[in-house]
Each structure stands twice: as structure tokens, then as C-alpha cells.
């Protein structure tokens, strides 16, 4: 959008430049340093062959990929499995969350029915209470479920994903609802007159118009799921089924200083998919909704 802005030619004035945008650059640079430094530090630590915490303080003095190799060699810490587990759990949960949330938001935004107001209010209330508050009950519920259906019990990734989906509506519907409301009803009505069914309107028209919020919600859900520790740590007890959050934490907390570089290598790899997705969906997240399609 802003790419179209071409600057008009005017004589350059440092003072005016500084009061208008120059100080903004200054602030931005300071913030970028604050934001990025810890990330650079991990990257540097992961490339440091000394392996320990104190050795990691020489930023980028030596570059060596030994830690990445070691990361995949220790069978006690099956990093590749953790990585795959995290991706699967994160993607499945995020996609399902987007759909569950969008369905609900569509109903709340486009239909008028008894209990709509109460429903919205309850969702708003429920989103105040993260699922893991009930971690004890979830643990006991899964433990009981597992006695009957082992596929859903403690230790099961499927069970964990189902638990995560319980939080799908609470957190996201309200966010989506607001966004759905910004899409004019006249679009729906026009489509309806043209004979589109409610499902067609939803899947082919509305979903496309609200794509930015879908991306945001999907990403938030992915980030939340992949970084979730509380429930994952009690459900996934076998190291081979664990997610990165559980596995890496256990690994680094055993010998904090000595495992540091290998942990850093793991952290870099663990952060990569999230950050890549994040950057890919940049335009949706930052740009917000493109101008409405009805003028």
C-alpha cells in the first residue's frame, strides 16, 4: 500500500527531516536493538563450539556447526522427533482452531438467534480463563479417558490436540467476530439474491474477505500451541512424543550451563518454523484488512 507513495522533490532539510521522521528512525533503531539482540545472542551461542554459557559471550567469534550435529546425535534427546511432533500438533491445532473460530464468528456476526448475546458474553468471560488453569482436572480427565480409550489418554498427542481445541472458541471468536462485522452485510445479501447458499457465502465469499484475521488467529494459535508447556508437560510423558517446549526445557534444565550451546542450536531450529510462518503472513498481520469490497 505504502509502496505507491513517491516522495516529491524538495530541498533536503536536516532539521525538518529529524522532527518529522528522523527521530522515528532513532527510536526504531533503539527498539530494534532491544528486540533483536537476544535473538542474535542465541544464534551466536548456537554457533559457538565451546559449548558452555560463559563461552557464548564471545559473540560470533568462532562459527562452527558442531552443536547442530550434536543436537541430532543424542538418542536421549530426540530432537528431530520433538520437532516433528511440535509441527504436527501446532499445524493441526491451528487449522482446526481457525475453522472452529470462523464458524462461530460467522454465526454470531451474521445471524440473529436466541442466546446470541449470552453466547458472546460467555465467550468473552471464558477467554479470561486459560485452559491450563484446569490443568489438574485435564490431567485427571485424560487419565480416566485413557483407561477406556488409550488413544485419547495421557501420553497421547491426539488427546492433547483435542484438549487444545477446547480453547479454540474462547480465545479467538471474539477477535474474529469484530472483524467479521467489518465486512458489510450487503455482500451477503447480494450473494443471497444471486442464489448462493449460506455455506457458499461463508466458504467462498466471507472467508476470503476475512483472510487477514484467519491468518492472525491461525498464527496466534500455532504460536500458542507450539509454546504451550503446562498441559503438554503433563500429558506427554514419553520423551519420544514430547514437543519442543517440553523436551528442550527438560534438556536444558538438567545441566543449564553445560548444555547451553546445544540448547541454543535447538532453540534456533525450534524458532525457525514459527518465525518463517510469521514473516510469510506479515502482510496479513500488519496490514490489516484491505479496503472493503463494497464502495
Amino acid at each position: 500500500m505504502s509502496a505507491a507513495q513517491t516522495t516529491r522533490r524538495r530541498p533536503f532539510n536536516l532539521g525538518r527531516w529529524f522532527t518529522q521522521t528522523g527521530w522515528r528512525h532513532l527510536v526504531a533503531i533503539v527498539m530494534v536493538v532491544f528486540a533483536v539482540f537476544p535473538l542474535l545472542y542465541v544464534l551466536s551461542a548456537s554457533l559457538n563450539p565451546s559449548g558452555s554459557l560463559v563461552g557464548s559471550n564471545d559473540l560470533f567469534q568462532t562459527i562452527n556447526f558442531g552443536n547442530y550435529v550434536k543436537l541430532f546425535q543424542n538418542p536421549d534427546q530426540p530432537f528431530a522427533l520433538w520437532f516433528a511432533n511440535t509441527l504436527v500438533i501446532g499445524v493441526v491445532t491451528a487449522v482446526s482452531t481457525v475453522f472452529l473460530g470462523a464458524f462461530a464468528a460467522y454465526a454470531f456476526s451474521r445471524m440473529r438467534f436466541t442466546g446470541r448475546r449470552i453466547g458472546l458474553l460467555s465467550l468473552m468471560l471464558i477467554q479470561m480463563f486459560p485452559q491450563f488453569l484446569a490443568v489438574v482436572a485435564i490431567f485427571l480427565l485424560l487419565s480416566a479417558l485413557g483407561d477406556v480409550f488409550p488413544v485419547l489418554g495421557l501420553g497421547s498427542q491426539l488427546g492433547l490436540m483435542l484438549v487444545y481445541l477446547g480453547g479454540a472458541l474462547g480465545v479467538n471468536t471474539y477477535l474474529m467476530y469484530g472483524f467479521f462485522n467489518t465486512v458489510p452485510m450487503s455482500i451477503d445479501e447480494a450473494a443471497k439474491i444471486d442464489g448462493a447458499s449460506h455455506a457458499q457465502i461463508f466458504f467462498t465469499i466471507i472467508l476470503r474477505l476475512v483472510a487477514p484475521i484467519l491468518a492472525v488467529v491461525g498464527l496466534l494459535s500455532f504460536i500458542a500451541t507450539t509454546g504451550e508447556y503446562v498441559i503438554a508437560s503433563i500429558v506427554l510423558t514419553d520423551p519420544n512424543t514430547q514437543t519442543l517446549a517440553v523436551g528442550l526445557y527438560t534438556f536444558v534444565s538438567q545441566q543449564f550451563s553445560n548444555n547451553w550451546s546445544i540448547f541454543a542450536a535447538g532453540a534456533v531450529l525450534a524458532a525457525l518454523p514459527v518465525m518463517v510462518v510469521f514473516l510469510l503472513l506479515q502482510k496479513y498481520i500488519v496490514g490489516g484488512l484491505t479496503a472493503g469490497s463494497v464502495k
Partner: protein, 561 residues
């Protein structure tokens, strides 16, 4: 033909799509396409892609799958006599089928049901269940019914009964669970059971040389499998009947089983246990069998309702009460400070970068939200490394080898936690504020400029109020989030430095939620689910009260109407 069908379907769906606020002209919605008017149907035909039939197919397949799974689940549960869960599952499934197979007013439900089902089970139910557990003594050693406890006590300390008859046994498997198939040496009947499931007679077992070897529905383990799972097999202990005093059948070699009986004998009439030395253990009313003087108790106990005992314990126990108050205060301080600092920084940065003439703002935006893209649990650990007093980067490099106790001094640790949380949290506020700022109508801004308002004035009098309307609910949500910000605390400090006036694992930076986690699942010490749930209920109440007050004040709810 296909066209006709599609047309009909379209007509039906179009009817459904009418919002309920549009008054119906009465009667059932038209089923046949003819009623919709020829012109309308023609347009429908034009638009009728595969979606109508595809949608219907998808619906039928999904419903069919669900029903199939439910039927299977019901059979499994019926085998275990779980009648109440069966009724609940059937009711829910029936409701789902009713919703999706009907039309008209059920439309909103069609869109709400998938999410709501998950919500009800894994959010609402577990909350209610927490509420129930909070009033029990559920913990390690008190996690089953009294019958289970009696069976477990009887099963502990099993000794082989002298002169026990030898039962020929085979090892069977079903659903990865192992079963013992024994042949009664007296009458030659086949008996089947497993740990926790007493032996029952199997009528249609297959015999080889008077030894039962197979039972329908089970697979018999071969020699290699038996060798492979020796430990599991020797740990099998199958009660001969529901009366624990009959003893259990165990096998050492997977071919012959013997009766084992406990040293402790349960007397059903008096509800007591007596051991071989003659000591009597009675039900002490607190969920365990203990001697009259209370000096010795048998493990495990069982779960009983204890009323408000957990809550009373939390606020009166000398080990718990003082630390708990400090944790509550700190939790509030942490949540409020986190919201204020992250919002201030996020908004400030959003305003700074939201300028049409600023070059490179895209790249700035990407860079400043990187902490948000970086997984939170890793951030805590990375900062814990950087703030390590002895070897960390901050002390070693930035402060030239100083030994500043960033994470080990109670107050400094609290400051560090807030700082790290600021790093983690401001990008979210930045994103939210940027979005909100961009959606503000530019006309207002321009009008204010034309009227000669200063940028500060525009911000305070126009932008901030407009912004707050849209972000206020998010700020409250952020408060609730930080109130329970487990990851930052646990990964960064684990709640430490520990309080010195208690032996429990509670520390200066512990939030209520990390305390709950450590009480329920901590290393060492008893896992006290009852107490942990009581504390989670406390969190619920606190968050609810704060949220209600906050929502009232911000009038955020008006938006809904």
C-alpha cells in the same frame, strides 16, 4: 438430473440462509424449486457449482464418521458398564445429528456446534471438575474409590499361598493390554482377567490338552512375544474374584500361575484390615485405614469429600498461608505492571512507526515484532542464560564482570521478570495498536489538523479514546493472560528465589499458576490435586472479579449490543 438436484439443494440452502430476524411468511420453507420462482432458480443453476452436492456429501460423510466412532465408543464403554457416560455421549451425538440433519432455525447451531462441543468438554467441564476436585482430598495415595483402595491394599504385599494349586495359564492380549487366561485345576473351566479386573468364566475358550489357550476377541501371545514382555507379564496380578480375600493369580513363567494372598486380611463386616501380627486398621474418616491411635496408616487411601478443608489449609497452614498472600500480591503486581509496560511501549512504537513518510518502516516492523515470533518458552530460557549472575552475557560483558544477582535476589528477580515480559509482550501490543491506529478514520485526524490541533492534542483527545474503545477488551484479556503467564516465570526463574520461611517449593517470583503446577505436579513432595484445584478456583474467582469490574468500567460490552 444433476442439475435438478443441485437446484433443489440450492433452494433449500437459500432458505436456511435467511437470518431469523427476517420474519418468515409462515409455514414450512419451500422444498421444491418450483416455488422459488423460475427466474430465481435459473440464477441458482448458474451459480450451482459442485458446492451444494459437495457440501451435502461432506456433511453426510462427517456425520457418518462421527456416528460410527460413537457407536464403537459406546460398545467399549458398555463393556465396562459406564452407563452414565454412555447416556451423555449418546445425548450429545443425538443433538449433533438433529442439528445437522434439520433445517431452518437450526442454522446458527450448525456453525456453533463444532467449537461449542470442544469448549464444553475441554474448557467448561474441566473447570467444573476442578471445582469438584477442590473439595476432595484427591492426591497421590488418595486417587481412587474405597473399593479400589481395599483391593490395592490387599494386592500389596502379596505372598504365595502355601500349597496353592497350579493354574495352567496363557497370556492374551487385547488393545495392547495383557490378560491372563487360566484353567481352573479343579473343574477345568477357563478364567480370564487382568490386573484390576477379576477373573470371569469364559465359556467359548479353545482348549489344548486341558489347558485353555485361546479366547474369542483376544490374541494369544507367542513365545517370542512372551519373552519380549516378561516384565509386564510377571507384574500381572489378577484377582480370583471380587472378594480381595480370595487372593490373586500371578505367574512367573507365563505357563503356570499360583494363588497369592495378602498379608493383610480385610474384614467386610467391621470394615477393617488385620495383619498377621494382629494389628487392626480401621477407616479413620479421612480416606485411609489407620490404627486406632493413628500411628500407622495403610497406603493407598481413597478419595473423599473434605468440604472447604483445602481452602482453609491454604489460608491457615503455617507453611502455606504467608507465602500464598505474597504470591497473590505479586501475581497482581506482575499482571498490572506487565499490561502497563507492554501497552505503553507497544502504543508508543506503533505511533512512531505509523507515519506515511517514514522510510523502511516495513523492515522496522518486521524486526521489532521478532520477539513475538520467537517462542515464549525459549525466550524465558534464553534470558535466563543472559541474566545468569556468574556466566551470563549481561553481567560478563555489559557490566564488565559484575555479579549482579538478576534472578537470585528477590526484588531484582521481580524486576527482571517484568523486563523480560516487556520484551516478550510489547510486540503484541504493537500489532494491536498498529491495526487500531490504521483503522481510525483519517478524516478525523485531518479535520483536527485543519482546526490547528497539536499532534499531542490529537493523540490525547482523539486517537487515544478511539483506540481505547477497540483495545480495551484486549487490555483486560492481556491482564488475564499475564495473571497466568506461566511460561515466562517458569522458564526464567521457576518461581525462585525460594522463600526462606517455608519448606514448600514456593518463591518470590511465583505466580499463582506456577504455584498450582508445582503443588500438583512438582518433583518431590506429595502431588496434592485437591489443594492445587482449590488454588486454581481461587485464580478463577480473582480473574473473574477483576474482569467484571474492568469490563463494567470500560463499557466494552456495549459493543455487543
Amino acid at each position: 438430473m444433476a442439475d435438478d438436484e443441485a437446484g433443489t439443494l440450492q433452494a433449500e440452502h437459500a432458505d436456511e440462509a435467511e437470518p431469523a430476524s427476517v420474519p418468515r411468511t409462515g409455514g414450512k420453507p419451500p422444498r421444491r424449486k418450483g416455488r422459488g420462482g423460475a427466474g430465481r432458480v435459473d440464477i441458482q443453476r448458474l451459480n450451482a457449482g459442485g458446492s451444494g452436492i459437495g457440501g451435502l456429501l461432506a456433511k453426510i460423510i462427517l456425520l457418518g464418521l462421527l456416528d460410527a466412532i460413537v457407536v464403537w465408543a459406546v460398545f467399549v464403554m458398555a463393556g465396562l458398564h459406564m452407563w452414565i457416560p454412555i447416556v451423555i455421549v449418546l445425548l450429545i451425538t443425538g443433538a449433533i445429528n438433529w442439528i445437522y440433519l434439520g433445517r431452518g432455525k437450526r442454522l446458527p447451531a450448525k456453525y456453533l456446534t463444532p467449537g461449542v462441543v470442544f469448549l464444553l468438554v475441554f474448557q467448561v467441564f474441566v473447570i467444573l471438575y476442578s471445582g469438584y476436585i477442590a473439595f476432595t482430598n484427591y492426591s497421590d495415595g488418595h486417587n481412587g474409590s474405597k473399593t479400589d483402595a481395599i483391593a490395592a491394599i490387599s494386592a500389596n504385599g502379596l505372598k504365595r499361598v502355601p500349597n496353592s494349586a497350579a493354574y495352567p495359564v496363557s497370556i492374551l492380549e487385547r488393545g495392547s493390554r495383557l490378560y491372563l487366561l487360566a484353567t481352573d485345576p479343579k473343574d477345568g473351566t477357563a478364567l480370564l482377567g487382568t490386573t484390576g479386573q477379576p477373573m470371569r468364566v469364559v465359556k467359548d475358550a479353545t482348549f489344548a490338552d486341558d489347558k485353555a489357550t485361546k479366547a474369542p476377541g483376544y490374541t494369544t501371545l507367542n513365545l517370542a512375544q512372551v519373552l519380549d514382555r516378561q516384565d509386564e507379564i510377571t507384574s500381572l496380578s489378577v484377582p480370583l474374584s471380587t472378594d480381595p480375600n480370595d487372593g490373586s493369580l500371578r505367574t512367573d513363567d507365563a505357563s503356570t500361575g499360583y494363588v497369592y494372598r495378602s498379608d493383610l486380611v480385610y474384614n467386610q463386616k467391621d470394615d477393617t484390615f488385620t495383619n498377621s501380627a494382629g494389628t487392626v486398621f480401621v477407616d479413620n474418616g479421612q480416606g485411609e485405614f489407620a490404627t486406632e491411635d493413628g500411628s500407622k496408616a495403610l497406603s493407598p487411601g481413597w478419595k473423599i469429600d473434605v468440604g472447604f478443608a483445602n481452602f482453609a489449609k491454604a489460608f491457615t497452614d503455617s507453611q502455606l498461608a504467608g507465602p500464598l498472600w505474597r504470591v497473590i500480591l505479586w501475581t497482581f503486581a506482575f499482571a498490572i505492571l506487565s499490561v502497563i509496560t507492554t501497552f505503553a511501549l507497544g502504543l508508543f512504537l506503533a505511533m512512531v512507526l505509523n507515519h506515511p513518510k517514514l522510510r523502511g518502516k516495513k523492515i522496522y516492523r518486521v524486526l521489532v515484532i521478532l520477539p513475538y515470533a520467537f517462542p515464549a518458552f525459549l525466550s524465558g530460557l534464553v534470558w535466563a542464560g543472559m541474566m545468569n549472575p556468574e556466566f551470563g552475557f549481561i553481567n560478563q560483558v555489559l557490566f564488565g564482570g559484575a555479579q549482579i544477582p538478576w534472578l537470585t535476589d528477590p526484588w531484582l528477580a521481580r524486576v527482571s521478570v517484568i523486563l523480560v515480559n516487556l520484551w516478550l509482550g510489547y510486540p503484541y501490543m504493537f500489532l494491536v495498536c498498529t491495526g487500531a491506529l490504521q483503522s481510525l478514520p483519517e478524516e478525523v485526524d485531518e479535520a483536527a489538523k485543519v482546526d490547528g490541533a497539536s499532534p499531542l492534542r490529537i493523540f490525547r483527545a482523539i486517537k487515544l479514546p478511539l483506540l481505547l474503545v477497540s483495545v480495551a477488551p484486549l487490555l483486560i484479556a492481556s491482564f488475564a493472560f499475564n495473571f497466568n503467564n506461566f511460561n515466562v516465570i517458569y522458564m526464567l526463574t521457576r518461581g525462585w528465589p525460594r522463600f526462606t520461611d517455608t519448606t514448600l517449593d514456593i518463591g518470590s517470583t511465583d505466580l499463582l499458576i506456577t504455584m498450582v503446577y508445582k503443588i500438583a505436579f512438582g518433583q518431590g513432595g506429595v502431588r496434592d490435586y485437591g489443594l492445587a484445584s482449590a488454588l486454581s478456583i481461587l485464580i478463577f474467582i480473582l480473574v473473574a472479579v477483576v474482569s467484571i469490574i474492568a469490563f463494567r468500567r470500560t463499557k466494552a460490552l456495549e459493543e455487543i449490543n
